[in-house]
Symmetry: C2
Subunit: 435 residues, 2 copies
C-alpha cells in the first residue's frame, strides 16, 4: 500500500479491492482525498458544494459496516445538475443556487447502493451549457478544464476523488476528459437513467462519468445498470480499430491529427487489427443538425428561467434561448429525422470493426477560463447516440493532454469498454502529474 | 353565447375566440368552470390541488391585459407529476406530498406564455403507475376513469376545464381518454418537452393532453412546440385510414371489435379511403417488450423512494420495483433493440395510409375504483413512439364510452391531428353528458 497521503491516487477499483481485503480503511482513503481537496481546491475550484465532515462520518460508517457493494467506501463527486438529498443542486445558476430537490437522483442512490460515498457537488457551467464556472485545469491553472462537466473532470484529474459523474449534450464529458487528461465515458443515449438530472436537450442528454482507469468506468456502468450480464472475455482478445477522420479533421490542430494517426500505428504494433473508415456522406452535417436540435430543445427546457429570471441568466445563455425560440419546428424535426437515418448508417459500420478511433477535441485545452473550448468533435457522435470513451494519448506543445475518442456501436457499450481497456494503457502518454 | 353557467362547456378554441372577440370575459369563463368544480368535485375527485382564488385573480388580470397568445384566459389543469411554481407537485405519493419544485415545468410556462391559466393539479396514480387515486369516472361514479392521468381526463370529461395535461408511459392518456369519453393525444415520443415532468420510464414517457375537440389538441401542440409551421390544408382533404386489429384483438370485448369495424364503415361512407393492414410479425411481442423496458426503467427511476421510503409506497408499486430490479439488462437491451427495428417497420406502413385505426381499450371502463384498467392496447404503440389520438366512437352496454385509437407515423403528428379532426365528429357517438 502507498503512504497514507497517496491513497487518493488509487483508482476506484484498487481502492475498493484494498478496502474489501482489509488492507485499507475507507476513513483513511477519505482523509487522503480530503487532504488533497484542502491543498488544491483553492486553485482548482472543482467543488460547488463539499461537506467534509459528513464525508468523513460516512467513511467511518463504511468501515464499521458490512460491505454494501463493489464500490464500498469509495468517494465520488457529482455534477451540480444531479439531484441530491444532502446538498442543494443549483444547475450552475444563481436562479437555483439554493434549490433543494429533497431526494437523490437514481444514479446517486444506485452508487450509494454500491457502497460509494458522495463527497460533494462539482462545478458545472451555467445550466450545463457554455457560460463557465470558476474551475481551472489542474494540469495548468491558466487553462480551461473544458465544460460543462468542468468540476468533475478536474476533481478526477487532480486526484481529489477516483471517479465522478457528469453529463454530455454536445461534448461535455469527452472534451473536459480530453482537456484534463482523464478517461471520460459517455454511454449509449438512455443507458444510464436521467431521473433527477436537469434536462438540457432530451434527445441528446446522456449521463456518464470520469475515472483514471477503464476498470473504474466498468464499475460505474455495473452500478448504474442493474443486472448487467458478465462480459464475455476471450483471452488474448484484441479489438479491431478503424480510424475515422470525420468531417472536422482539417479544422483541428496538427498535433491532434498526429496523435490520432500515431495512436493507430501504436495499436497496430501492439497487435490490434486496424484500418480506416471514410466519413459517411450523411455524417457531414451532423454537427449542424445537433446544434439545431440542442438549441431548440434547450430553449424549451429553460423557458421558465428565461421568462421569469432573465436578470439572473448570462447574456450568452439568453442568446441560446433566443436562438432556440427563433428555430423553426420544421428544421428541428428534419434534423431529428436525419439523425434517425444516420444512426442506422453508424450501426452498420461495425461489421468489420469493434471501435472507431477519432479526435476527441481540436487540440490541447485553450488558455483562459472565460470559455470552455469547442465541443465540435463530439456533437455528431452524441447525436448518433453512440457510446464514447475519451482516452489520453499524447502531450501537446504546451505540455497539456491530447486525447483520442473511441466510438462504439449503439448499445454495444460492453464491447467499447473492453476495447478501451485494451487500448488505454497502450496509449498512455505518461502525463506529468498535477502539482 | 350560452348562458353564464354553460361557459364551462365551451372548448378551448371556442372560449379563446370568444375572449379575443370581446364576447366573453375570462373571469366569467373561470367562474363557470369553478362553479362546475364546486358542484362536482366532491364526487369526481379530479383535483389534487386547487387554488380557486388565485385562478379567479389570474382570470381578472387576463381581462385587464393585452391578449398574450392563442389560449388567452383559458383554464387548464396539469397532472400532479408536472412541476409547478405555485403548487406542490406530489407525484401521487405520500413520500413527496409536500414536494415544492419552485419552478414551472417547460410545458406549464409555455402554456402560460400562450395565455392559459393553471387552475390546479390533477390526481395521478402513485408515481404515474397503477395504484389508483380517488378519482371517479364522471360518466358513472362507480367506474374507474382509467389511469394514470386520471384526474386530467375526468376534469375535461366533466366540463370542469376545457383541456388538461397528462402523460403516457404505457396507456395513461389513451385509456383514461377512452374510459371518460374525451379526446386524448399522445404526441410522437419527445415531441413535447419533459423538462420538469417526473420520469417513469424515459424510453417511453410522453407528455400529452386531453380535450373535447381536435382543434384544442392542435392549439395545445402549437403552444408546446414553438415555431410550428402552418399545417398544409388542402380543401376537401380526406384521410386514408387502415384498420389494424393488432395482436390483442381477440382479447378485447365484442363491443370494442364492433366499434372499430363500425367506425371504419362509417368513415368509408363519409368518403375516406379505407383499408386494412395486417399486424406485422415484429409487433406481436411489442407489449411484452414494453413491459420489460418499463419495469426495468421504473425500478431505476424510483430506486431512491424504494430504498429510503419503502414504508410509504404501496405493495403494488414495490412489486414493480422488485420485478425491475430482477430484470436482466440483456433482456432490457434486446427489447430496446427490437423496438428500434419495429419502429422502422411501423413508419414504412404509411405509404398508402395516413392513419391506422385500432382499439383504444378492451372495452368500457371497468367497475370499481380499486384498479384503473389495462393499458394493453397502447403498450405497443407507445413503445413504437408513434403519435396517438383516442377518439370516442361508441357507447357500450353499460352506457359508457368506447373509443378507437388513431395511430400516426412518427413525427407526422400534423397529419394525425388533421385526420383526427376529420374523423372525430363523424364518429361522435352522442355520449350522454355527465350529470
Amino acid at each position: 500500500m502507498t503512504a497514507r497521503k497517496e491513497f487518493n491516487r488509487l483508482t476506484a477499483a484498487e481502492a475498493a479491492a484494498a478496502i474489501a481485503g482489509g488492507e485499507l480503511k475507507a476513513a483513511d482513503l477519505m482523509a487522503s482525498c480530503l487532504d488533497r481537496v484542502a491543498d488544491r481546491e483553492p486553485f482548482v475550484h472543482a467543488f460547488q458544494r463539499l461537506d467534509a465532515d459528513a464525508a468523513r462520518a460516512a467513511a467511518e460508517r463504511a468501515d464499521s459496516s458490512q460491505p454494501k457493494g463493489p464500490l464500498h467506501g469509495v468517494p465520488f463527486v457529482a455534477k451540480d445538475i444531479i439531484d441530491t438529498a444532502d446538498f442543494p443542486t443549483g444547475w450552475g445558476s444563481p436562479v437555483h443556487a439554493e434549490r433543494r430537490p429533497g431526494r437523490d437522483a437514481s444514479c446517486i442512490q444506485l452508487l450509494k447502493d454500491a457502497g460509494a460515498i458522495l463527497v460533494g457537488k462539482s462545478v458545472t457551467t451555467e445550466f450545463a451549457c457554455f457560460h463557465p464556472g470558476p474551475t481551472a485545469n489542474p494540469r495548468n491553472l491558466a487553462h480551461t478544464p473544458g465544460g460543462s462537466s468542468s468540476g468533475s473532470a478536474a476533481a478526477v484529474a487532480d486526484f481529489m476523488v477516483p471517479f465522478a459523474l457528469g453529463t454530455q449534450t454536445s461534448g461535455s464529458l469527452v472534451r473536459p476528459g480530453a482537456f484534463c487528461g482523464v478517461l471520460a465515458y459517455k454511454p449509449t443515449h438512455g443507458d444510464f437513467d436521467l431521473d433527477g438530472v436537469m434536462g438540457v436537450a432530451a434527445s441528446l442528454d446522456t449521463l456518464g462519468g470520469f475515472a483514471r482507469s477503464v476498470d473504474d468506468l466498468m464499475l460505474l456502468r455495473r452500478a448504474l445498470c442493474p443486472n448487467l450480464g458478465r462480459a464475455h472475455t476471450v483471452s488474448g482478445w484484441r479489438p479491431r480499430i478503424a480510424l475515422m477522420r470525420g468531417p472536422h479533421w482539417a479544422e483541428g490542430s496538427m498535433e491532434m491529427r498526429d496523435v490520432c494517426e500515431r495512436a493507430l500505428a501504436v495499436l497496430a504494433d501492439a497487435g490490434a487489427a486496424v484500418g480506416e473508415l471514410s466519413t459517411p456522406e450523411i455524417f457531414l452535417d451532423l454537427s449542424a443538425r445537433q446544434k439545431i436540435i440542442m438549441t431548440y430543445e434547450t430553449a424549451r427546457a429553460r423557458i421558465f428561467e428565461y421568462r421569469r429570471h432573465r436578470d439572473r441568466i448570462s447574456a450568452a445563455f439568453a442568446e441560446i434561448v433566443e436562438a432556440g425560440l427563433a428555430t423553426s419546428h420544421d428544421d428541428y424535426a428534419s434534423a431529428l429525422d436525419a439523425a434517425d437515418r444516420a444512426r442506422r448508417v453508424h450501426d452498420a459500420q461495425f461489421l468489420e470493426f469493434d471501435v472507431i478511433l477519432s479526435p476527441a477535441a481540436a487540440g490541447e485545452a485553450p488558455k483562459g477560463l472565460h470559455a470552455t473550448g469547442d465541443p465540435l468533435y463530439s456533437r455528431g457522435w452524441t447525436l448518433l447516440h453512440a457510446p464514447l470513451v475519451s482516452v489520453p494519448a499524447g502531450i501537446g506543445p504546451n505540455g497539456l493532454p491530447l486525447s483520442v475518442q473511441l466510438v462504439g456501436r449503439r448499445n454495444a457499450d460492453d464491447v467499447l469498454l473492453q476495447a478501451a481497456r485494451w487500448i488505454a494503457p497502450r496509449l498512455d502518454p505518461g502525463l506529468p502529474e498535477p502539482d
